[in-house]
Symmetry: D2
Amino acid sequence: MFKKKIVNDPIYGFITIPDGTIFKLIEHPWFQRLRRIQQLGVTHLVYPGAVHTRFHHTLGAMHLMHKAIETLRSKGIEITEKEEESVKIAILLHDIGHGPLSHNLEHSIVNNISHEDMSSIFMEKLNKELDGELSLAIRIFRNKYPKKFLHQLVSSQLDVDRLDYLTRDTFFTGVTEGVVGYDRIINMMNVAGGNLVVEAKGIYSIEKFIIARRIMYWQVYLHKTVLSAMELVINIINRAKEVAANDGELFCTPSLRVFIYNNFSKIDFEKSEELVHTFSMLDDHDIMSCIKVWMSHPDYILSTLSTWLINRRLYSARLQKEPFSEQKIKQLIKKAKIKYQLSDKDVSYFVFSGEVENAIYKIVEPQQSKTTTGRINILYPDGKVADITKASDYPGAGDLDRITRKYFLCSPKGL
Amino acid sequence: MFKKKIVNDPIYGFITIPDGTIFKLIEHPWFQRLRRIQQLGVTHLVYPGAVHTRFHHTLGAMHLMHKAIETLRSKGIEITEKEEESVKIAILLHDIGHGPLSHNLEHSIVNNISHEDMSSIFMEKLNKELDGELSLAIRIFRNKYPKKFLHQLVSSQLDVDRLDYLTRDTFFTGVTEGVVGYDRIINMMNVAGGNLVVEAKGIYSIEKFIIARRIMYWQVYLHKTVLSAMELVINIINRAKEVAANDGELFCTPSLRVFIYNNFSKIDFEKSEELVHTFSMLDDHDIMSCIKVWMSHPDYILSTLSTWLINRRLYSARLQKEPFSEQKIKQLIKKAKIKYQLSDKDVSYFVFSGEVENAIYKIVEPQQSKTTTGRINILYPDGKVADITKASDYPGAGDLDRITRKYFLCSPKGL
Amino acid sequence: MFKKKIVNDPIYGFITIPDGTIFKLIEHPWFQRLRRIQQLGVTHLVYPGAVHTRFHHTLGAMHLMHKAIETLRSKGIEITEKEEESVKIAILLHDIGHGPLSHNLEHSIVNNISHEDMSSIFMEKLNKELDGELSLAIRIFRNKYPKKFLHQLVSSQLDVDRLDYLTRDTFFTGVTEGVVGYDRIINMMNVAGGNLVVEAKGIYSIEKFIIARRIMYWQVYLHKTVLSAMELVINIINRAKEVAANDGELFCTPSLRVFIYNNFSKIDFEKSEELVHTFSMLDDHDIMSCIKVWMSHPDYILSTLSTWLINRRLYSARLQKEPFSEQKIKQLIKKAKIKYQLSDKDVSYFVFSGEVENAIYKIVEPQQSKTTTGRINILYPDGKVADITKASDYPGAGDLDRITRKYFLCSPKGL
Amino acid sequence: MFKKKIVNDPIYGFITIPDGTIFKLIEHPWFQRLRRIQQLGVTHLVYPGAVHTRFHHTLGAMHLMHKAIETLRSKGIEITEKEEESVKIAILLHDIGHGPLSHNLEHSIVNNISHEDMSSIFMEKLNKELDGELSLAIRIFRNKYPKKFLHQLVSSQLDVDRLDYLTRDTFFTGVTEGVVGYDRIINMMNVAGGNLVVEAKGIYSIEKFIIARRIMYWQVYLHKTVLSAMELVINIINRAKEVAANDGELFCTPSLRVFIYNNFSKIDFEKSEELVHTFSMLDDHDIMSCIKVWMSHPDYILSTLSTWLINRRLYSARLQKEPFSEQKIKQLIKKAKIKYQLSDKDVSYFVFSGEVENAIYKIVEPQQSKTTTGRINILYPDGKVADITKASDYPGAGDLDRITRKYFLCSPKGL
């Protein structure tokens, strides 16, 4: 009677953890490991409050899933106990495959495998361990289950993942403009034609949700100084791998060593239990403790970049709507080569440009997407359904799916 | 030493009230009267938390003004002590002319005088009372003072009035989507070319501010049930005036009687001290206590409408993008005439349509506006300034000044 | 499917209103009337945000009741559908008998009837109107139902009424120190021996709840300026009744007239349908609109006090732990008599002292109390139960039931 | 003009960073290092939101210092520009000497040196680096400056350190009961007889502050599961040191190695620049990444404890008011020795008891304390000053300085 598990959440107050498979999964070392992976990687170098973890985000998303299910049931949508547990498991494990610093190093530690694929691999192993208890959760996660709306709750333009991460990132960064009305949106959820929809009177909350997401992209996720920090940590890992490839010696934790000195493909992970285990031992601590040691590595580039990250002397970064002129870039490269005595090849660790893009609202046709369902559909009282870009009378609603692209240019501070 | 006046505010924590003229004004009966006028009139019939008053809003706006001045000064903009006091007085008194139920009855209790004109009249009288201490405040309020940005802080597309009312209305209604980053926006304020501008890195906060305002319009201020309540209270006052015009006897508080039995023009107020005083005795209590009595008035229409308001049996309201068909309206009118035995003239108290409009962001050219300055200008690091509709890369930014018009149709519930 | 009623609450987000009897009761004019009665009477003269109403408080308490029931059920406590509805009705109607300005005028408008008795009378009438649908709710309200814990949820030392009003008053006044962990407390609720208990690990939340309540008493409910405003409005009503008793003519709304010109007893209400109806037409607007008119009443005392209230020139009030000396009081009386030319009898409207008391935690033995159950019981994992004064190791816990008494002295400002 | 440094804080909104010495200090690697030290060590294993850092806390405390100075100046207390900067520096650096996991390992990584002593050492070095710019800050920090209240703002029973950490820990853990009215308290600060005092009308806020602190101690800081995690991490470090002392080989980051393989005294740090530098390279990442590696160390005890921490299989802990019986402890020890095959000496890593104590409010006489001033003094309008234990009429106020002692017993889960 005293055993009900409750976790304190600064945002939702309390999160209740159901008994059974879900509890077992949360206790699992692979899930506990998410406590050691920050949700937003190095973003806390710009927003010091942004130190929250994947662990907390995932519990939060499960909490919102619970509320969504309650709402849908109260509107007569049938969801069985097993479906409820499975869709909660699916959201709980959707990020289980994230590596150190979350998205920051998603393509650096291991190339060519997205965190979703990695999550899939982890789920399969867990399913074996738990004698198939996760089979339905996996079907839902992969959109192979007839009740499409369950998958859409996990992964779509308006899933509980997004509702939680926008809410949580806003809370911890202190960027209040990103607040979304998650409870209003959930209250307005419904199912029509088997798909998740939002009732028409929730339309302004959806508009708000879309704009809040856009703000979070430019104000936080793709903030120029955040970009600068992110690129710095990527460059450090890349340089370390280069040193390793040239038979250089590097201080590494044992698990990180495996990934610095080797390149693995998706198949390697599918084949090797041990490799999955080794990956599961990685977290932010490996990265940060090694980078600190690399501050005094004999490789000039590695030690310089590492020192910059640890002491927060980030690249000076510019972000603009037009590409930077070749000339401007060349000029900076020239200066950097002289000042830091760099080769043509190595200078790209110091001066580089790139682009980022953000589609506020991306219409994805079913065939293009494995896991994301592409629309936010609005349900009218007369039963008609329309895409938000049609339903909204916001100026520019028709253009919401336009992609905004920006260009950045990084170079050492004070160059 | 113990005398510093501090007021608790659930939003900002504490509001400090400066000594001197400002303190005297707040103590004045005309200002205290704002305690008895709800900020959003009858909106609390839909959002029960929306019971906050003009008094509190005005103090809040003064608080934000204080922060804005602090910010501008820290950026090297010169603002004298006297200017500081005066611009605070201007914002403090900008709503002093509001009548009962704020905007709801702005054109019913007294025709042809906006609350801004009324505020102006009140300010003149107060200035006389205080031997000219308000002269500079009045110049700023009327945009007659060379430092334009001071007026713009009081009244423009991005003044502290809006920053407070959006924040406050959001807080009290619980419509979290309307949250604006008032402190970020204020932090980004600056002055360029004598005008109030926002530094470029605040651009997303401005976009957010604009969209939040739009949401508050459709979700709260022009919510169909709020409209319905508002139209109901207007119709009650109109009917009462009609009864009075036909020599009918009506229970009225003495001050309300003056306005129910007479129609005054702006000139009347300018001429008569006594009329201004009588107006200053009016507040929400007069309206509501009389409407309650009118529930048993012999005039069928007056008693019916009054009963509906008091017992919250509001009109059934529809709101849509297209005008309602003549036929549909006629049909409803016909039904209402039969059911309630109404004349052709009187049926319009029961069935009526109308339109509302909202421009998210209204560019007002100087010559069109007495008190509002029409642009939100963005200041770039290189010193260039651009209007937000040009500066923003939000899809549809160019259309932000488009007006959205909607049509409503009200009729008795269950007709 | 679109019909589920949801009300926005700035504190809890959304409050869901169940269909059926509860919905009917909320629509009832008697319940709607609570919209026009402020929770804290004239407290907003000190805390301008404190303009929330009994209506909102009651909905909030019902919301917490819903959560409490959910928690208890999840711990295996059986609560039938009918019991759930009834206990929600009981909390919904527990304040239905409140008159204008809530507690401020509880013993002035009508003597000798507490608001609880009045609520009982209202419930009886409603029960008749609804053909006995409220019978169980009334039994619970009066503690006549065997499942004692249901009554205790409605009315005890730790009921949802207190949880909501502390939370709500804190929110609207901005006195953050009064925050209670309502969700933690509800999560820790359980039933032992048929009584409501709190599990031992919630003990610090209970201590906090008790201290928060104490803070709210001295910081808000019995704040010396709040007391001063409260006494002023009481004196105004008393003086008006005195004028009426001497055949004086007074402007009154029709309903208020009945109560100014007569004194009724509990029996009168029980006997007369009409009297109950008349009382149900009273609200804050009657009081405030009449007081405004009385500002120019020929009775010097009535007009003076009325003017003071409306223009917020409250008594100067002192509050201290010792009674004021006779001499000090006499001195003030003497001064007041001269300055305002008052008789020995009338001076008590201008200078008076009194006492207030607050027991942080009042142990009430069952025989002393009709509706309040006197203990907060703590349940230990081993099944033992102990009163909080025994369970807490807070210094002074054993004295928590001690009464603190303070003395106030009011006199005209600037006397 | 665009250069003003502003940091987002989820609690206070924005924190402004002054130019000059303060900005230089914040940019210093030693200060940046606080980003990598969590405020509450391993507490996040119980409260997942508690991942905030010393960096953020220190900035927050500086922000409150700014507000306190503003308040005091507005009350006529003279504080020079230099004093303002210095007292801000003192608070900024008061935690600079914290090691990994803050208090958790305060006496494990380095024995016999408190973090305050270490902060002092760091300050001296920084002062040399900055040519004496910190001299006044150090005098204030060490209470050697005549204006005692400046030191008291940094370190006393009611300093801005406590105001920030209670507020911040409450915010991030989600334990709302710990909320303190930091702005009200600061608003009520004053100086009397050269000492920091709180004006009498702030007395309830002080009571609340004291009780909130008590709640945070038992609900968070000394929560039995937090204790359990803390003891586990201490035992791991102790075991690692034991392994090292016996010439065992351990994976360590270079900086951690220095402290695992050696024991230093305060004098060592005072003498050796290099040792200070090495200490400054330590943070949470060293501890956590090494413990992960130690999960597969050949020493059975080290690997077991490490695995427990990483996978969050914490000791089962009990906490009670009476000491545990010798018999009960012996019984558990016996069981553990058998189950885990442990020697008499080693079993103490698995089963152990201890005590914790908390004085809600500790009166410290000047001679007992180097840095903490022992009283919260209340200032009455008549100029008298009294200690809070005398000033408060809260039951048990006189006992507020009583120490509460509790006993804990830890043993392996499922023993």
